[in-house]
Subunit: 434 residues, 2 copies
């Protein structure tokens, strides 16, 4: 069955995935001579750098999610489709999706990366990843539900298991979420649960390498660890997780930490897409592309962002999987598409590192800019400003600002709701009465 | 098993349900000589009058939900428990709950009312009720998902079924939700879905009696109907639903309306609580109480709000099931508890009707105040003001205000997200990789 999308005399570019890369290229091409079809599983773009704030009740999901249709209102060139993509058929230039077959002249794969559980079945089933707003919300519900349970638990050891939180992975996500949890332990949770003894709650951050934030500068790593330790986070370096049974995290070397909440931010692997030549899949599941983001061996299939594996002199193992790479690649590829249309020469990509940052709780952040590396309160202010400005939509930006200012002044996050929309089944049939 | 709640030398009042009544009495008793235990299924209070705005993407769930623990921070007398209550054991003065047995000296039943499906199994299973924030969110997801589906549907009749919405019940909820949907049809949906023909979308409001808002004044009913019709809502009076098969609503008299979205706001019935003497359950599942809200035949069990059936001279069939009755009963009962403690005389309840209102889309509302009945723009302004002031929490109030002002100026609601937290099962195990 063919998907219902009007065919025009324009060439069609199909973009799979509306993350930083996919959204950027769709925007850049919205007034071009191409018809753009953007396919995503969700009807909204997600602002990944702030997932940890959703998980820790600092921001609402809607503040960092923005409906695609709203972004592309008045852009008649751009067609949004909420669908699952099953398979690419490169021979016939089409993708098979949950809403039918979609033809393309050019295909842009921007499907990003997802959590890597490194093949451990129990960790896959029992831990809490944080690679989507939904997952962040699930983690928030989990943490709050555990504290409710702890209240009614009379066994001291079980109570400790409910209250402890173990975060695995010392990258920005792990650092940010463990720092915020430590802040919550200090200023919010004891007020909400005066019946519990918060000396029993421990936040752990486990990192396999010898330092946290190991893609950042030496100074940033050191400072971040210093801040985390001061906040009361138990930072364990050179610590690898061997297994998890839902109640204990077992480390290599024999140590076990009791917890019902294992947050898994230990690594990512490229999302899979059937139908591609296995020979183009490189390390960490990424798709090998040339300097114009063209997939190896193809003439009209491109990959950008986290899923793309492009090597440059400075990045022999590929680019870091961050928003800036995706956005820069998207902008250049959009330009190249326009050049193709105008029969002009195409350009090759070269990553311009604008710097990286991570925040650690209230008032503290670390920043590595190309010409300036610093840490502390000023870095935190800059972190706030940059993230605020990157949020899509004026109202969302305003709401995030108010939420942050409010939390800052009141030492409180007020979004501690355990909330789930019901499925039709859960709207219980036994409620029938007459 | 006994629930883990510290026993003090104070007498314990257990409140079941944290709606308007339960929340009010817990607040009024928070500094009293009683120990208060508030039990609710959720960890937050829900502001019911604005559910329809969540369903129509005008407000976020968090704006009209407020965590109990936040409300009662610093109130050491009040213990919150998130639990399901299974049964009352009046002989032993205890309730059986999902967290164990809870003893009481006094019990306050404030469990409210839920949707009445009048015994129709198919309607129970297939329609969308709106009696909780979760249900409102489910309806919002449903409506948005249907429009996404309509885009890919090539059959014209099926597309119509996806786009039509039928609301059953001409009370405030039905009037407010159908009015807002008609506004969305005019100003928002065509912008989001330029590929769809919105002449095909019809909003229906079905009411069994000869007028909408039939508990309000003649003038309010007439005006509300006028406003709805002007907005393009198909108002069918004296129309009763016989059956629904998920695609067609069948009316008594033979007419059928095609729709995949049947919103059921046709009536309520008291929530059930096991263990009560069946003789005390009156019409519509309500619990019969005396003028001090004491359950018939009991000395220490009380019921307040929607679930309570109290007759007064002016209300021979019981009070209307509205927030004001619950709040006023809660305040008086709290006073009476304090009087009991001080061995003073108890007072009897008498409902003071402060008036009622309903809003119909942008700019219009109807208001019946004791000495003044009016309709139009001014009524709408007052509606906004009263509802804004009733929202719990300063930040929520501010957010609701900004959302409303923003929507008003931009003719837009930006919360059109189809979002669900994932269950652990949905965080798919097949994502495992190494």
């Amino acid at each position: 069955m063919k998907a219902n999308i009007t065919e025009t005399n324009k060439k069609r570019i199909v973009i799979i995935g509306g993350g930083f890369g996919g959204l950027q290229i769709a925007r850049s091409l919205s007034d071009s001579n191409y018809q753009v079809v953007l396919i995503d599983k969700n009807n909204y773009h997600q602002f990944q750098p702030l997932f940890y704030q959703v998980a820790t009740a600092g921001l609402e999901p809607s503040t960092i999610s923005f409906p695609f249709r709203k972004i592309f209102q008045n852009k008649k060139n751009v067609h949004i489709r909420v669908a699952e993509v099953y398979k690419v058929d490169a021979v016939n230039n089409q993708v098979d999706t949950s809403i039918g077959i979609v033809n393309y002249h050019y295909l842009v794969i921007a499907i990003g990366a997802d959590t890597n559980f490194f093949g451990n079945k129990k960790i896959t089933e029992l831990s809490y990843p944080m690679k989507s707003v939904s997952e962040a919300l699930t983690l928030r519900n989990r943490i709050l539900e555990n504290y409710e349970k702890a209240l009614t638990e009379t066994d001291r050891e079980k109570r400790k298991t409910l209250m402890n939180i173990v975060v695995v992975g010392g990258g920005p996500t792990g650092v940010e979420v463990s720092g915020t949890l430590a802040e919550m332990k200090k200023s919010i949770l004891p007020k909400d649960y005066p019946e519990l003894d918060f000396k029993m709650m421990q936040v752990y951050l486990l990192e396999g390498s010898p330092k946290v934030l190991n893609v950042m500068s030496e100074n940033a790593s050191k400072k971040a660890q210093e801040y985390l330790t001061a906040l009361g986070v138990n930072v364990f370096l050179n610590s690898r997780v061997k297994d998890y049974d839902g109640e204990n995290v077992f480390l290599e070397g024999g140590k076990a930490i009791p917890t019902n909440t294992l947050v898994w931010a230990a690594g990512v692997t490229g999302n899979r897409l059937e139908g591609l030549d296995p020979a183009v899949i490189g390390r960490a599941g990424r798709i090998m592309v040339d300097r114009q983001n063209k997939v190896k061996g193809s003439s009209n299939i491109f990959a950008i962002g986290d899923i793309a594996l492009m090597t440059e002199e400075k990045f022999p193992d590929g680019h870091p999987q961050v928003a800036q790479v995706a956005i820069q690649q998207a902008k250049l590829l959009a330009k190249n598409f326009k050049s193709m249309d105008e029969k002009k020469e195409l350009k090759g990509f070269s990553y311009k590192d604008l710097g990286s940052m991570a925040t650690v709780g209230r008032n503290k952040a670390v920043a590595d800019f190309p010409k300036w590396k610093f840490a502390g309160f000023f870095a935190w202010l800059i972190w706030m400003f940059i993230h605020l400005m990157s949020i899509v939509g004026g109202k969302n930006r305003l709401f995030a600002f108010i939420n942050w200012a409010w939390s800052y002044i009141t030492f409180d996050q007020s979004l501690r709701l355990i909330m789930k929309p019901k499925t039709r089944k859960e709207i219980s049939p036994e409620r029938m009465s007459s």
